[in-house]
Symmetry: C2
Subunit: 172 residues, 2 copies
């Protein structure tokens, strides 16, 4: 069995979740089995429709999304994230998925919904062959140190400064 590596896509620029779904698509098209866990998020996005087209992907959301819109996270957000991490820890250790994406997990860390030591424990316990991708801003040093590949997606320029809102099929 080939070794699976740990990727981190972090930084303040556009492309983190997008790249994770690009990698998921590439893996799906090669016949790999893919699990996408979305922390914090609770909306259906265009990318979550991949499930309608491919039988080898499972997408689950472990968020309530509300505090993205300005509210601070509460107990329910913490509970949702912790239940998600518990499920992901099991999934990572069992090895039935070739690629596991932990989307926005570093945002969950940055809002203290999760503890970095628990995330590291899940990564340490992963099956040898499982490839893992973590996305989100503010990836902490412990995660970067642990990862095999880290890309910082740095915003040089973004059209939101032109007043462009999130658009269907492009931004979500």
């Amino acid at each position: 069995m080939e070794k699976g590596y740990v990727h981190v896509y972090t930084g303040n620029g556009k492309g983190k979740t997008t790249a994770a779904f690009g990698l998921a698509a590439r893996a799906l098209l090669s016949g790999k089995i893919v699990y996408v866990a979305q922390f914090v998020k609770d909306m259906k996005y265009n990318e979550t429709k991949l499930e309608d087209h491919f039988s080898n992907i499972t997408i689950r959301q472990y968020g309530r999304g509300c505090f993205i819109n300005g509210e601070m996270p509460g107990e329910e957000d913490v509970l949702a994230a912790r239940n998600g991490l518990d499920e992901c820890r099991r999934i990572l250790s069992e090895g039935q998925y070739d690629l596991v994406v932990l989307d926005e997990i570093t945002i969950a860390l940055s809002f203290k919904l999760l503890d970095v030591s628990d995330v590291l424990r899940a990564l340490e316990g992963k099956s040898y062959g499982t490839e893992v991708v973590l996305t989100g801003r503010y990836a902490p040093k412990e995660i970067i140190d642990f990862a095999d590949l880290v890309t910082d997606m740095t915003e040089v320029k973004h059209y939101y400064t032109q007043g462009v809102l999130s658009r269907d099929g492009i931004d979500h």
Copy 2:
């Protein structure tokens, strides 16, 4: 008709083509019509199999790939890239595609297969509603100045330094 914007995904880290295909997948899943032009590349990748699963994507390659493997580009590479840009200029201007990806076009620029003024002309002549994504290292200042969104995908760490070669379904 909504305005289409110009994205650039550049930098030395993993994620540029991956994000472009992630965006292509998101657009496909929302019902948009997508064209992917791959410059320099001539191999079939897992991501190019998107054509087998979605009728609303067209992928064309305008490269010979050889100089990636150490050979310097020759006349045939220049011709392939220029023919590709001619086709893309027409496609961008006609507006029948909602999203056009110009994958590795900045590599074609950096190897002087194309002239930056010709690429700018193609972008300037694009249909109002067409969204365009350019990828590749070494995006020149003229392209960055022109773009609406630029992400620099900076390599913090890469597993090739551990001797990991490009793997099926993950790296290609």
